[in-house]
Assembly symmetry: C2
Homo-oligomer: 292 residues x 2
């Protein structure tokens, strides 16, 4: 568990920032926030999710934090560090929640003061709804928490960042390089969202809904998507995501060719491979939630 | 409700045949079965799912049925009619449960005796598990039941077929031409299975399962697939399915091009369209289950 004497600052009171705040307050930590939205701040204060906060980057609040969690969009993260690192306490450890790493991690570490450390992390949890009013620390239960350290990080900060994940109740704490993280997320999360969006928009027969069943609904659940956030995540991870789209498309074209040629045995072999892998996935089930 | 005096024969005691039998028996109908599997017959008899039956096409059982439900694979359906229509009672109405229509309906009607009528239907319900022991009439609750009549069908037989669907508890009874049905099923059901299989087989990183969350699991749930049945369904509906794969691929390539070109506004517009359509689908929700 994270040391109870540490003061935690959450930057950004959205779904994830709010869930971190609630989770830490429930466990007795002192939590403050700075956020751009007066409304979100008021909600968090009124609901006892934080001990204090400001709707602007108040230097006094920033200056007393030992641990700072940047729960904001990737481009906001870099802006925030540029403008506010001057207020951080010497020795403060900064972490984040963003779903892409390579595009922010190196730039953030390069610009940062020497006496403050940024250790990146990705809590793979979320909901289809947004905002502090939907925040809920139970989304972390059973979920993956991935720390993506670089050569610049110290063992102590990596350990503290993992402690934060354990304290919040994540089931599985892993370490990956920023590059490996982005490749993995390009496949398991971003590619799936691309597929869902394309499936939802490729056919506009209005009578369709009348005949959809579980499979179509399952494949398009994530087609209800936050366009501002996901377009940013896709573009921030463009090269990895393009490779994953191409890999998937090539496989779908292999299936199409077998169908076109009437290659029943080829289709059956592919389906058996698919079935075996899906069953292996079930056995390894840990994570009931993921960033959406 | 279906007339209680009608004798129903279920041909094939698998998941769907068994679910029809249980559903009809629960509502007090007289149900018999002929099936190729002695084991399935024994199970159905032992569990009171049928009043009688045989593990071969017993002419006496076939000859006393007013309504015959062919709950078998498409190619078995045609074989069965060819071999056993001679035993049917004059005036008998035959229906089925197969998920592809064009490839069986016309051939079946062309070969049939003039005093017996075949009215095709597709109950859009199923489970990921197979066999009579997994049969369950509750899978029909909230589901779609589609009748696909041709010019050869009489209003009386169409009505009786729809009554059967209502009696079994389907939420929505529709009529479609066999061609329109196959186009629709190519999109909402077969294309989704192709996508799930390709997604499951396109990447064989063994560390993958460690990081998968809800979206990947949702998109690949149906990647656990009965290769014998689905390869037959895909090949029986080849032309429609090829068109649907091509339509989806073109849309995914549109998304890929926007990503490659950094067209943020284009991506956001596509995501907003996707979100609006998915929300409309939620509002129109009726069917919690579908053929898999």
């Amino acid at each position: 568990m994270l040391d109870k004497n540490l003061h935690v600052l959450i930057v950004g009171m959205g779904l994830l920032g709010g869930s971190y705040a609630r989770g830490l307050k429930e466990r007795g930590y002192r939590v403050e926030t700075v956020t751009r939205s007066q409304k979100s701040l008021d909600y968090a204060l009124k609901n006892g999710m934080v001990d204090g906060g400001a709707a602007w980057p108040d230097p006094r609040i920033i200056g007393r934090a030992d641990v700072i969690v940047l729960a904001v969009y990737p481009h906001v993260l870099l802006e925030w560090l540029r403008d506010n690192q001057q207020y951080c306490k010497p020795g403060a450890v900064i972490t984040d929640v963003t779903g892409v790493k390579t595009c922010v991690v190196y730039e953030a570490q390069a610009m940062l003061r020497d006496d403050v450390e940024y250790i990146p992390a990705h809590p793979m949890a979320g909901r289809e709804v947004l905002g502090v009013e939907n925040s809920d620390p139970h989304i972390f239960r059973g979920a993956n928490y991935i720390v993506t350290p670089t050569e610049k990080n110290t063992p102590a900060a990596i350990e503290l960042c993992e402690e934060l994940g354990r304290t919040l109740g994540f089931a599985r704490i892993s370490r990956l390089s920023p590059e490996k993280h982005d490749e993995m997320i390009g496949f398991v999360s971003q590619l799936t969202h691309c597929i869902a969006v394309a499936l939802m928009t490729c056919n506009d027969d209005p009578g369709l809904a009348r005949y959809t069943g579980d499979s179509f609904r399952d494949l398009t659940r994530i087609a209800r998507i936050n366009d501002e956030m996901w377009s940013e995540l896709f573009l921030d991870n463009r090269e990895a995501l393009l490779r994953e789209i191409d890999g998937f498309s090539a496989e779908l074209m292999r299936l199409r060719a077998m169908l076109d040629e009437g290659d029943r045995e080829g289709l059956r072999a592919m389906m058996r491979r698919s079935t075996a892998r899906r069953e292996a996935l079930n056995k390894d089930r840990v994570n009931p939630e993921e960033t959406r």
